[in-house]
């Protein structure tokens, strides 16, 4: 551990001194100071935390791609790569394994570049892209059924919750908030493979056992939709929509949630890693809805 820290420090000092890039001296001093502080933090935290760690908290940021075809609104596939994907996760591993996650993603796809038009009501306007806001929050609980050599397998259940709010902008006409709300219980599998003391893979797989889903009506807006927004109070509008949801069978709704994380152990306290997340969501009621999300996260994890 100490050797790695020293090496890091050495490399940075060497780079600062030998680099062909000329950096203003006071910036170099600041960088040195911050580098020292970060290294000191890692070093001291690893000294403090000599016990076995049961809790982990990770912060992930990444580039994501969405592909969505919601036939209620449009027959076209809306896709975009976007950098606003944040995932916070907390896991605890003792007698039982627990995982709590919350993820936010924002995409603004459009099938063409925005253009201008002149409307009777608002004069000259420029079209804006659609807006997809995705919030996922999950809690999983399971028990290890295999813990041998480099492998560890946990099986359990996951409370899976998604709120997807979208604005589809069709030039002068907005089709607001065809929300997709889904609550469900998944079969949860967590597999960890330790390559060696410093490198590991960790993967989660979720397969739905049942889902309770609210989707916008067939024509995006109907009288139930207007009744739901009648109160003009955000929470009540939301709960009204939830009440209009339905338990859906595998025939109407399918999901597949998978992530694969490569982790590198910096020290007893900190890991860094790369995570690939794949979330596939298919729904057939009242129209075909297909959404595939790929996100590549970089992550930092603290163990305590």
């Amino acid at each position: 551990m100490k050797r790695a820290t020293t090496l890091t420090c050495f490399h940075l000092d060497w780079w600062f001194e030998k680099s062909e890039i000329r950096i203003v001296p006071h910036i170099v001093q600041h960088m040195k100071k911050y580098t020292f502080l970060i290294i000191a933090f890692f070093f001291t935290s690893s000294l403090i935390a000599q016990d076995e760690k049961h809790n982990e908290f990770s912060l992930n940021w990444g580039m994501g791609q969405i592909m969505r075809q919601d036939q209620t609104v449009s027959p076209f596939i809306h896709q975009q790569w976007a950098p606003i994907n944040v995932l916070l996760s907390y896991s605890r591993s003792k007698k039982l394994d627990q995982l709590a996650e919350i993820k936010f993603s924002l995409y603004n796809p459009s099938i063409v570049d925005p253009y201008s038009f002149n409307s009777f009501y608002n004069g000259n306007e420029t079209d804006i892209a659609h807006s997809f806001k995705l919030i996922d929050f999950n809690y999983a609980l399971g028990k290890s059924i295999l813990d041998k050599n480099q492998w560890r397998l946990v099986v359990g259940g996951k409370s899976r919750n998604q709120i997807y709010s979208s604005d589809y902008n069709f030039g002068p006409t907005l089709t607001p908030s065809p929300m997709f709300i889904s609550f469900g219980l998944d079969l949860w599998l967590n597999l960890r493979y330790a390559i060696n003391e410093q490198h590991y893979f960790n993967s989660n797989l979720g397969l739905p056992l049942f889902s309770y889903i609210y989707r916008a009506p067939y024509a995006a807006q109907n009288d139930d939709y207007f009744e739901n927004i009648y109160s003009h109070k955000g929470i009540k509008e939301f709960t009204n929509r939830v009440k209009d949801g339905e338990l859906e069978s595998w025939g109407n709704s399918q999901r597949f949630d998978f992530d694969l994380r490569y982790g590198y152990v910096l020290n007893e306290k900190w890991d860094v890693g790369l995570t690939y997340l794949l979330a596939m969501n298919f729904n057939q009621s009242p129209t075909q809805f297909t959404q595939i999300e790929n996100v590549f996260f970089i992550s930092g994890k603290i163990k305590f």
């Binding site: 038009f117 006409t173 024509a219 009288d223 596939m280």
Partner: protein
């Protein structure tokens, strides 16, 4: 880390990313014939008031489809589509293409016919003597015309939350003129939820049903919309003024006024685009809107396509407007 771990990791990710397209329905193709077909068939399965507007959509197909060929230019296709949509003459049907005026199926709006027969600035200057208040993001304009209150509603939205304060402001008035000329719609639920002080009992306003499938008769059950009493009843005479540019949610609000026993409706017939519209897009990025509902007034008749008729028909003329007179407003004042 051994190389095979990296290769396995990369292979897994690439294989998952690569097979995505297999999960989606084929998209409508981006060529003139498919764009036309996509537009026509979406109207055919989703547009509700063909009957109310007396349009045979199959006949429109027979007229326009042969004009579209693989070699049809964008300009030609725009002209063909506009011609087909014009048959609906629907204020809720629009067609948007880059860097041009939005096309409105409703001839009156598209050609701005009689647009100049209402001017709020004229009322502010010549009748309110520039003594007026505004609220609700400028959508409410109100002031005194002698002992009578005057309230212009430009659109229906959060400005409806101010109904209570506007009615308080006119508590001592002999009556109220609600001017909904050129009121461009919005979200009717704001009007209905805030309407409580204007009615002394529950009153059915209209009912509606919405497409819930692609078949000709695929509709939800009829849903009834009423207004309910809430708060201190405003029991003064009200004159409602509308014109041909009173449209959409503003027409629904006008219907809510119309069911009140103390309301006299004066002016011109409303636009007749009452049912809800939704937006859509075509493969080349052009936009359009269409209507997915049928609506019926509380007596079972529909105003879709014909507009809400006033009890007293009055229409300004260009010459009166040119000399700063709003005869419609003056006639409304004469009722009190």
């Amino acid at each position: 880390m051994k190389n095979y771990h990296i290769i396995l990791f990369a292979f897994l990710i690439l294989s998952l990313v690569g097979c995505e397209n297999a999960f989606f329905e084929p998209e409508p193709a981006n060529n003139p014939e498919n764009i036309f077909e996509n537009l026509w068939s979406t109207f055919n399965s989703e547009y509700a008031p063909f009957e109310e507007r007396g349009v045979d959509w199959d006949q429109q197909y027979d007229i326009h489809r042969p004009q579209v060929k693989p070699s049809t230019s964008n300009e030609e296709l725009i002209t063909i589509i506009k011609s087909m949509l014009r048959s609906l003459d629907d204020g809720h049907v629009s067609f948007t293409t880059p860097n041009s005026d939005v096309f409105y199926s409703n001839y009156l709006i598209d050609q701005r016919i009689d647009d100049e027969l209402f001017d709020l600035e004229l009322i502010k200057n010549n009748y309110l003597q520039n003594d007026f208040l505004k609220s609700g993001n400028g959508l409410n304009t109100y002031g005194w015309l002698g002992n009578v209150g005057y309230w212009h509603i430009k659109a229906i939205g959060i400005n409806m939350f101010d109904i209570n304060s506007i009615l308080d402001y006119f508590a001592s008035a002999d009556g109220l003129i609600v001017d909904m000329r050129h009121s461009s719609g919005g979200n009717f639920t704001y009007a209905f939820s805030e309407f409580g002080r204007l009615t002394d009992e529950k009153r059915l306003v209209f009912s509606s049903k919405t497409k819930n499938g692609p078949g000709k008769n695929d509709y939800t059950e009829l849903y009834e919309w009423s207004v309910y009493p809430k708060g201190k009843y405003f029991n003064k005479p009200i004159v409602l003024i509308t014109d041909r540019y009173t449209i959409s949610a503003s027409e629904r609000a006008a219907m809510a006024f119309k069911v009140l026993p103390n309301v006299t409706h004066l002016g011109d017939t409303t636009n007749g685009a009452i049912a809800t519209k939704i937006g859509k897009e075509l493969a080349n990025g052009w936009y359009y809107s269409l209507v997915t509902q049928k609506t019926y007034f509380n007596d079972g008749n529909t105003f879709e396509g014909v507009g809400i008729p006033p009890e007293i028909y009055v229409k300004n003329t260009s010459s009166e407007m040119a000399v700063g007179q709003d005869k419609t407003l003056e006639q409304a004042l004469g009722i009190f």
